[in-house]
């Protein structure tokens, strides 16, 4: 159990490293030009390459949350096994048993949970970036919708 956070941190660092290198590699796949002999190149990506980068980012983010979710599940499951078996004198190995349960029964549920957590995380980031300001030309309905959107995203801001 002591090694659980260390393993999680190791996996997350590995995923983030893969994310950075993979994103760099995908970005460099675009057409590189030097407009007007500029010192820094301009890289243009087509629609497919942009879609590839977005999918790659989403997959890596999901993986990070998935590792976190697995860690979370292992801990919760070990505690549950200890509670329902350990206190009554049954000989159990909570960590091994919870790993077995994770792989055998609940891997899909953990994946779904981590996907939902990842979506919430993305909403939080979008909420921090976006702000829907209304202009003088907007009518009452548009103004109301923008204010509602602002209020909705305000809840998710960090």
């Amino acid at each position: 159990m002591v090694f659980l956070p260390i393993t999680q941190v190791f996996f997350i660092i590995a995923t983030i490293t893969a994310l950075i290198f993979g994103a760099g590699y995908l970005y460099s796949e675009g057409a590189i030009t030097f407009p007007g002999n500029a010192a820094f190149p301009s890289i243009s990506l087509n629609g497919g390459q942009i879609a590839m980068i977005v999918v790659f980012f989403a997959a890596c983010l999901w993986m990070i949350f998935f590792f976190h979710g697995c860690n979370h599940y292992l801990l919760c499951s070990a505690v549950a096994i200890w509670y329902f078996n350990g206190t009554n004198g049954y000989e159990t190995a909570p960590c091994g048993e919870s790993l077995h349960r994770l792989v055998r029964f609940n891997l899909g549920s953990v994946a779904i949970t981590s996907l939902i957590n990842g979506v919430f995380f993305i909403i939080k980031i979008i909420a921090n970036i976006l702000s829907f300001d209304n202009t003088d030309n907007d009518n009452g309905l548009v103004e109301c919708c923008l204010k509602c959107l602002n209020a909705l995203f305000c809840i998710f801001k960090v």
């Binding site: 329902f84 206190t87 919870s98 549920s109």
Partner: protein, 156 residues
């Protein structure tokens, strides 16, 4: 927006995310106990939390308090120890001009490690509570699986 309403909004946001986190923890425990999928586990966890809101709130509050105190204590202890180590140990005294960078880096590492390990205690406390509530619900008010000490603490 006034300062007061901003404070209220932040409190609401904190409570909302704490509830989401708690629901997520509860869902994992329910998955482990019942072996059901995410949606039904979250539903069961939500029912348990709403039925025992006061007990859950108190346990969560105590858990947050001790987690924060623990993180602060570990970080402060490591920072102070590294500061005085750099000042008093001759080897470091001769090689380092200022102890602040060492203190900052060791404090940062201590903070990260303490946060990771104490969050485990936080999750474990939530899990024990969920198990206790499930046990009590299944036994129709009677707790069957908890140890005597845990039963005494939880039923007080």
């Amino acid at each position: 927006m006034s300062q007061r309403s901003l404070l209220h909004l932040q409190s609401v946001r904190f409570i909302l995310f704490r509830c989401l986190r708690f629901l997520s923890d509860g869902a994992y425990v329910q998955m482990a106990i019942t072996g059901q999928g995410y949606c039904s586990s979250t539903g069961r966890a939500f029912d348990l939390i709403t039925d025992n809101a006061v007990r859950v709130g108190i346990t969560d509050g105590i858990s947050i308090f001790f987690t924060i105190i623990g993180i602060l204590a570990v970080t402060a202890a490591v920072s102070v120890a590294s500061y005085f180590s750099v000042l008093k140990i001759t080897y470091y005294e001769q090689r380092l001009s200022s102890p602040f960078s060492v203190t900052f880096v060791s404090g940062l590492i201590a903070f990260v490690v303490a946060s990771v390990y104490l969050s485990m205690i936080d999750i474990s406390a939530t899990s024990v509570l969920q198990c206790f509530l499930t046990d009590r619900e299944r036994g129709r008010g009677k707790v069957c699986f908890a140890s005597e000490r845990l039963r005494t603490v939880m039923l007080e």
